[in-house]
């Protein structure tokens, strides 16, 4: 018995219901056999009127098995090429049957699932939000290689196809219909197969219905081939726009665009072959491995709660207190209300508290004006937030998050005066990026219920939350924070308490190295541009301006008051910057009179000329590669130190945290995966070179040497 259930009805319609081993239908070895046999049988079938490809699972068809793909190495290249070509050959045979084939899309058709449906003559989907349609491969360092690029390009045109493919879009059926990815909707699951049959009967006498558009005489790609004059502008500009996004660091994206361009000029068979060849190169390359590892396996691991204490029941937050309605507090209130949580937003004055709520109202208004949210719902969400100055309004909160200034005394005072209003099972979270949780928890009567919840700014956009467990933080508290993070749609990483935790500590090395390069006399613009060329979201000087040197100064003063100086390395450069920039020139950052940049009235910015006078030395010749490696290696080394000392509890947290929290280049798969990809031996050698040339801060952490010896990857 095949896992493809083959039924022919009296009308001559064969329905193939895919019911593969396991929870989903997937493009694996079992599929290849089942499809091959099905096509063999269909080609022999007498009196055939049409074919319906259906699913017995909740999803229509899932994509390729990423477990297989992540293991693909150049040694497997020829085998992969052969396999994919064979598989695509059978898809080609399916679409070349003399009768029409309908994909009856009952559930998600993503990646390989949607590609399979593209090899059918018609795609009919159930109009339900769970029926996601799309090609998410690019987000994992891959591209749709099961004919997805080639067929979608031929079906809807180069530009439209690339918009979907490069953005890894997943769509609800209505949207997919609107862009031409599918042909028809049915309102209920029950009507799916009958609708498919009705169409097959309707077109029984129409020979063209069995022919794919690209196999018809006179077929032209929608919108024309890429080299037709009307596409000239797009053809010239699209690659550079893509490069601006990827900085040329995502070979899969370049390949996807190149294949779509070529597909528009070539016949389908040739283009499908090119698609396979380029896929082999991409799937066996480092970037795909990095991105699949981090964005699929490790992110899934995190989302599935690997770092959440086992055996603690889910504890969703019902009523949240937010103390401080400033930039962070108002953002926290917004994301919580969006998740349906009742929020008490408290500040010192009602005006401040109301201003905090107004932030949510403004964001909601933007969404309603764009038609993304209906006004009634927006009102319900806004009503969830109660601005107040009264502590008593916090009564019954099962979670209070304090988001006041980074000042231990202030935070302690608030903890002591306010924690009494928590419900019996309530927990206390402190939003801090720099202050030790264990020490803050000392102010609490229940330090086991105290935890650090580090939000990133702007809260509504940044996807990460860094949860910091203090020495006494209980499992229940950790679970509470974890559940809350997921409740508001954020990805939580969990770290142990240590000065600067993981993200701030690592991030500060980026700023520090940028400042060091500056002080050495490297051209400031060059520092910024080379940093961006590595894939960092923003250059170190610009980002220092955004977070503000003023804040760095305050933090180091706070730490100094705690008796901590230069805990994670020599702070000499930072002290010099504070003196030069703040003390001597009053340039504490973007919102503190300007910083490394001057900020102009028209919104533009330019390097503050004073930097050239203070530091620039055109005789300094640090090679570009060293500049880039210094900026990245500092962060990688710091991340490894965090992992080796247990600040980071898992590799997954280090990778996801570095990408989502620090802006680590996505193609590296994060700052720990970076080492896997670079190779331990090569990494050690490069550290030695950098250390010899630039100082001990580049000494390779022990843990890499251990891994080099054991041959074990960071996983």
């Amino acid at each position: 018995m095949s896992v493809f259930n083959y039924q022919k009805d009296q009308q001559g319609i064969v329905t193939i219901t895919m019911d593969m081993t396991g929870p989903v239908n997937a493009m694996n070895a079992e599929y290849k056999v089942a499809m091959h046999e099905a096509v063999n049988r269909l080609e022999q079938e007498q009196g055939l009127v049409g074919v319906i490809l259906a699913s017995a699972k909740r999803v229509f068809f899932a994509g390729a098995d990423l477990k297989d793909l992540v293991r693909a190495t150049p040694d497997h290249a020829e085998e992969i090429y052969r396999d994919i070509q064979l598989m695509k050959h059978d898809m080609r045979r399916l679409e070349k049957l003399p009768v029409p084939v309908v994909a009856a899309i009952n559930g998600a058709a993503l990646g390989g699932g949607y590609e399979l449906s593209l090899a059918c003559n018609r795609r009919i989907a159930v109009n339900h939000r769970a029926v996601k349609i799309g090609l998410p491969e690019c987000s994992l360092g891959l591209f749709p290689a099961g004919g997805g690029i080639v067929r979608l390009t031929h079906l809807i045109g180069v530009q439209a196809a690339l918009d979907i493919i490069l953005a890894s879009k997943q769509m609800i059926p209505e949207k997919a219909l609107a862009v031409g990815m599918i042909d028809q909707l049915v309102e209920t699951l029950d009507d799916l197969i009958p609708a498919a049959k009705r169409w097959l009967i309707d077109v029984e006498s129409d020979t063209e219905a069995a022919r794919q558009p690209w196999d018809r005489k006179g077929h032209k790609v929608a919108g024309g081939a890429i080299n037709t004059p009307k596409n000239a502008q797009y053809a010239a500009v699209a690659p550079t726009m893509l490069h601006q996004k990827t900085r040329g660091l995502l070979p899969n994206a370049t390949a996807a665009m190149d294949i779509a361009f070529q597909a528009s000029m070539l016949d389908v068979d040739t283009a499908l072959r090119i698609e396979s060849r380029e896929f082999v190169k991409v799937v066996t390359g480092a970037v795909a491995k990095n991105m699949i590892t981090t964005f699929f396996f490790q992110l899934n691991q995190i989302n599935a709660g690997a770092s959440r204490p086992q055996g603690v029941a889910k504890n969703p937050t019902r009523k949240l207190g937010v103390l401080g309605a400033g930039m962070m507090g108002q953002g926290i209130a917004y994301v919580a209300a969006m998740a349906g949580i009742q929020v008490v937003l408290k500040d010192m004055t009602l005006a401040a508290a109301e201003k905090g709520k107004a932030y949510t109202i403004a964001l909601l208004a933007k969404q309603t004006s764009r038609g993304r949210l209906d006004a009634a719902k927006a009102e319900v969400i806004a009503d969830l937030i109660k601005p107040t100055i009264c502590d008593t309004d916090l009564a019954g909160c099962d979670l209070i998050i304090e988001a006041v200034f980074e000042n231990i005394a202030l935070k302690n005072t608030i903890t002591q005066s306010t924690e009494q209003y928590l419900s019996d099972d309530g927990h206390w979270g402190s939003n801090t990026s720099t202050l030790p949780i264990t020490q803050l928890a000392e102010a609490s009567a229940k330090p086991e219920n105290f935890i650090g919840i580090h939000f990133f700014s702007p809260v509504d956009k940044m996807p990460l939350i860094e949860i910091i467990a203090g020495e006494k933080t209980s499992d229940a508290t950790l679970a509470k924070a974890f559940d809350f993070a997921q409740q508001i749609g954020k990805t939580p990483i969990v770290v142990n308490d240590s000065l600067g935790f993981f993200t701030s500590r690592t991030f500060s090395t980026y700023l520090d190295e940028g400042a060091k390069l500056l002080v050495e006399g490297v051209h400031p613009v060059k520092i910024e541009n080379l940093a961006k060329a590595t894939g960092m979201a923003v250059g170190p000087l610009q980002v220092q301006d955004e977070t503000s040197l003023e804040l760095s100064r305050k933090v180091s003063e706070t730490w100094a008051a705690m008796g901590i100086v230069d805990k994670w390395g020599d702070g000499e450069t930072q002290r010099r910057m504070i003196k030069d920039m703040i003390t001597d020139n009053g340039r504490g950052g973007r919102h503190h009179g300007g910083g490394y940049y001057d900020y102009h009235a028209d919104g533009s910015k330019s390097i503050w000329p004073g930097l050239f006078e203070l530091y620039y030395d055109d005789s300094v010749a640090v090679v570009d590669r060293d500049i880039q490696d210094r900026l990245i290696f500092r962060q990688v080394i710091e991340t490894l130190k965090c992992y080796q000392t247990g600040v980071l509890r898992s590799v997954a947290d280090g990778n996801i945290g570095s990408i989502m929290g620090i802006g680590a280049p996505a193609h590296t798969g994060g700052f720990i995966q970076f080492v896997n990809s670079y190779g331990c031996a090569a990494f050690i050698q490069r550290c030695e070179e950098l250390s010899a040339a630039y100082g001990e801060r580049f000494n390779c952490p022990e843990i890499v040497k251990q891994r080099a010896a054991s041959g074990e990857l960071f996983a």
């Binding site: 080299n227 000029m265 070539l266 068979d269 380029e278 082999v280 190169k281 066996t284």
Partner: protein, 402 residues
């Protein structure tokens, strides 16, 4: 000549059918060219910064082959940014024109090392894609009596009395020789496999050759230009060749050059370049010649161009050991041998474009690599290369082994 122009290497891609089902259809034109540049670099351990210029012939320099493909090929191959590139077009002579011009650059002393060759992906940029007065200028076509080449070839056959059997027999021999040469590895030194981005081979050897050809098979093919001739081109031709009462349309796809994809590249340099880079010259370009004769019959200039080339070199027919005439059409090669009074036994000894195909802009430099390999194999000294060219032009080049 002030300086000798040495041939340090000469390579080409295999050739394959220039249609959708051809093996090279999936390869971009710049990749074909870049693959050869990479091979030149690897085979000769070449410091590409030393190369002054890359000259690439291309007859349909539009679309993917447009905008100076030679420079783009150099860029695609990752050659030093100092390397210039120029695409040139002298119709079917383009590849040899690149070689001759390259040799002139070296001979003049202006440059020390160049790559000369050509590229033509006829499957991706079909012949005629570049337009031109022949297909868009009625007054020009009428005033200059434009007639397509194939009818010119048929006219040569009619004038010279080559029967259908004669041209088919010539074609059959071309097939036999090409298959023999390929199967015995005579092309191995110059043919560089085309690889994909993984390094997998897309095409290793010429696959256009049809060794199973027979006189019966060839005889069954329909004449290619009969219908077109009857639409007025025959009459146009007869206006000029007014002793003819009719044109015998003897040329078919079987005895004309095939439409294929391919590229070629020759590394030409001065003696100094060889010394600086530690390269050993394989040969030398002795002389080149270009001329034009009647543009209406269009295909009769190769013989005269060879004579001119001999004169330039101060040589005679007897100084030439082997001859290569591009087999655009069988009658062209036959007229060439007749003009120069040379035997088929020393002409196109390993077959030609009828068997292997004629990737327009690339062919000229392909003749060079085939000739050089064969001179080496036979331990002979000199070879003459000639092609017929659109517009009634003819081009030739004499090479000799170092």
């Amino acid at each position: 000549m002030t300086h000798s122009a040495y041939i340090y290497d000469a390579i080409r891609t295999p050739r394959s059918k220039g249609k959708k089902d051809g093996a090279l259809h999936e390869v971009k034109p710049i990749e074909l060219g870049a693959g050869l540049l990479t091979a030149l670099q690897q085979r000769n351990d070449l410091d590409t910064a030393y190369v002054d210029d890359v000259l690439m012939g291309c007859v349909s320099p539009v679309g993917e082959q447009g905008s100076d493909i030679a420079k783009m090929i150099a860029q695609r191959a990752g050659w030093d940014e100092s390397v210039a590139g120029v695409q040139l077009n002298r119709f079917c002579a383009s590849g040899l024109e690149a070689v001759n011009t390259g040799a002139q650059k070296i001979a003049s002393g202006w440059e020390q090392l160049v790559v000369a060759g050509g590229v033509e992906c006829m499957s991706r940029v079909p012949m005629g894609s570049d337009g031109g007065a022949w297909v868009s200028d009625a007054a020009f076509s009428i005033d200059t009596s434009f007639v397509p080449q194939g009818i010119g070839a048929d006219t040569i056959a009619t004038l010279d009395g080559y029967s259908r059997e004669d041209v088919d027999a010539y074609a059959l021999e071309s097939q036999r020789r090409a298959a023999h040469a390929r199967d015995n590895g005579y092309f191995d030194r110059s043919v560089v496999p085309v690889l994909d981005s993984n390094g997998f081979s897309i095409l290793q050897h010429d696959d256009f050759i049809k060794p199973q050809s027979s006189m019966e098979g060839l005889g069954a093919l329909r004449a290619s230009f009969e219908q077109m001739g009857s639409m007025g081109f025959d009459a146009m031709m007869i206006k000029k060749y007014n002793t003819l009462d009719r044109i015998d349309h003897v040329h078919t796809p079987g005895n004309s050059s095939g439409i294929v994809d391919g590229a070629s590249a020759v590394l030409i340099g001065s003696e100094r370049a060889g010394k600086d880079l530690g390269l050993t010259a394989r040969g030398r370009i002795v002389a080149g010649a270009i001329l034009a004769s009647d543009p209406i019959i269009m295909l009769t200039a190769p013989g005269p161009s060879a004579v001119k080339c001999l004169q330039t070199a101060g040589l005679t027919e007897n100084d030439i050991d082997l001859w290569e005439i591009n087999e655009a059409f069988a009658a062209v090669a036959m007229r060439y041998m007749r003009d120069l009074d040379i035997d088929h036994s020393v002409t196109n000894v390993n077959g030609g474009s009828i068997a292997m195909g004629h990737p327009l802009g690339a062919t000229g430099a392909m003749l060079l690599s085939s000739m050089l390999d064969e001179l080496e194999r036979r331990e002979l000294r000199r070879g003459m290369l000639s092609l017929c060219v659109g517009g009634g032009m003819g081009i030739s080049c004499i090479i000799e082994r170092a």
